[in-house]
Amino acid sequence: MSAVADTHTQDHHHGPAKGISRWLLTTNHKDIGSMYLIFSFAMFLLGGSMAMVIRAELFQPGLQIVEPEFFNQMTTMHGLIMVFGAVMPAFVGLANWMLPLMVGAPDMALPRMNNWSFWLLPCAFLILVSTLFMQGGAPDFGWTFYAPLSTTYGPPSTTFFIFAVHIMGVSSIMGAINVIATILNMRAPGMTLMKMPLFVWTWLITAFLLIAVMPVLAGVVTMMLMDIHFGTSFFDASGGGDPVLFQHVFWFFGHPEVYIMILPAFGAISHIVSAFSRKPLFGYASMVYAVGAIAIMSFMVWAHHMFTVGMPLAGQLFFMYATMLIAVPTGVKVFNWVTTMFRGSLSFEAPMLFSVAFIILFTIGGFSGLMLAIAPADFQYHDTYFVVAHFHYVLVPGAIFGIFASAYFWLPKWTGHMYDETLAKTHFWLSFIGMNLAFFPMHFLGLAGMPRRIPDYALQFTDFNMISSIGAFMFGATQLLFLFIVVKCVKGGKKAPAKPWDGAEGLEWTVPSPAPYHTFSTPPEVK
């Protein structure tokens, strides 16, 4: 791929506006991308501090620090904030920054809507976090908000939670429409679909998933709202409804949602592994088809989250085999990453370290997912710490390491400075060790029968819980180092060239570092 970038100064060069109005009114994809990333990191720290409360309480058996009611609020808010506040906005931030640069567009297709979809998010999370200070406390029914826990037995603040979910859903849907319009309409001349960088491909598919399932989430919380306030009985057996229906509708949203949180990371990792192996990505087309296959199959496996509700055997078998089938395209991707590295000239800068850890640890998380997919065995694992271990292994080294890898990979492009490599490697190793210490023992705890979302446990679980808590504190504290590294990199550091990584490919490396406020005012030619 070669391209000519037109970056000469124009007659009327626009810089950013001054002061707060730059951020409130901006329609610039780079500004909005930065705001998304900063917001998501703030939410990451907030959700992370809630995890610290959880781990502090679980450091020893017995009730030490918080009341069980508050513990439940912490597990719920931790999940909601991490899923909707940290991981999803971080990927939207990366999309805002990188998609126009990668497809050679001057901006996102719908810049004003872009501004709106960002500013809805702080509003949604202000509402969500404010429930902590309300009478009856914050939502305490787990991030999955199963009825009737969230309808009949939910705290009064549930209504605010529903409203917050509606707002963040609107924000996500607008973000997704923007991504689709940008990718379909604004690609540089010559960039056919099968020449698009993989991050663009994975985000295009993610955006379709968002459009397909965020409305279902909006629907399910609307049904809850009607059950709570308007006398309907969608999930109330006394009125002819069915609480199991809630789980079906929720997981019809929930399962594609887990791919929404990982597919963009797949895309970014593909770029990084290729760049630091100094080889083109192995099996580009199969990567695209694999992501498409994963996305389509994600709609057909939702009931593997609820094997224990009493499904008929045929249903359990269908969902079990369909789930296992997803391992095939995922395996294709892992194979392609490994093969890309095979006989490459590898170097292990921070983005590559995070990417390699991603491949290894995400695969471990995938395998524990396969264990959970085995319907007869799932009855043993269901709602234990094994599930917690599984989804943290796919979300922390999956989504979060993917975001860290992307951040280090593109920081030179964003800031114009190289980050401090030694500190970044320290960040990696402390995160890697902390994360494994925190989550690996949870597998054993779960297999031994420790249930999730309980503030107390039997004595024999003490040692593993202590190790887990120490790992969690280590992982949590380490993230402050990341904040320091990024701030240091923004403020100064070694000047970054237009293309700081010699194996990197793509249009984003043809513009200078830092990327000028306006790029690709004239579309580049892609051959």
Binding site: I177, L184, A237, S238, L245, F252, P312
Partner: protein
């Protein structure tokens, strides 16, 4: 941003088309979320997997009684949250032959000092048997109003189908009685309609 408005015009047009398609997808999926509710009802009715026993059964032809086979039917009763009535089956279990029409009674009493309305919701275990358990008459088809201190014996007439799978020898029918409040409340009587329609 004012650059190259001329070139952008065709793009604007197709942006509108993309937004249109995406929004119709959003609206369609929102509707689909709600459509899952009736779809789920129908699916469960056909397969019987959620233990709901279906509405009033009308036999096309009277079934031959299978004297060679005996099935135990057990009866359970429980109260929904906040329900204060006394509620129990008059007999705990009966032995029936498939095809035979059997009548049993449930006893309900309102011990409070005000009139109340109750609604019983049935559930059958194992769920495999739900398609083979027919109710020709059931107190659960209607709401049951009771004056203060009043009691009633509520009849249930059922037939166990001759096609009940061989390995099922015991069926357990459980009723949960829910408080529907006072009869006068409008919203509750609306709810009563849906209840009766859906819970048979």
């Amino acid at each position: 941003m004012s650059e190259q408005t001329g070139e952008k015009t065709p793009e604007r047009k197709s942006n509108a088309r993309v937004i249109g398609w995406c929004l119709s997808g959003v609206v369609g999926m929102f509707a689909f979320g709600f459509a899952l509710v009736p779809l789920y009802e129908v699916f469960c009715e056909i397969t019987g997997i959620n233990g709901k026993t279906g509405g009033r059964y009308e036999a096309s032809a009277t079934q031959q009684v299978d004297e060679n086979r005996t099935v135990t039917v057990q009866f359970l009763a429980s109260n929904g949250p906040g329900m204060t009535w006394k509620f129990r089956p008059v007999v705990r279990s009966v032995q029936v032959h498939p095809g035979e029409s059997v009548t049993i009674n449930y006893y309900a009493e309102n011990p409070t000092d005000q009139p109340m309305v109750g609604q019983a919701v049935p559930s059958l275990a194992p769920s495999e048997g739900t398609l083979f358990f027919h109710k020709t008459e059931c107190f659960c088809f209607n709401q049951q109003p009771l004056e203060a201190g009043e009691s009633v014996e509520m009849p249930l007439i059922f037939i166990v189908d001759r096609d009940l799978p061989e390995h099922i020898t015991k069926l357990t029918l459980s009723y949960t009685l829910y408080d529907q409040g006072k009869q006068a409340e409008v919203s509750k009587s609306d709810r009563a309609q849906t209840t009766t329609n859906n819970n048979g």
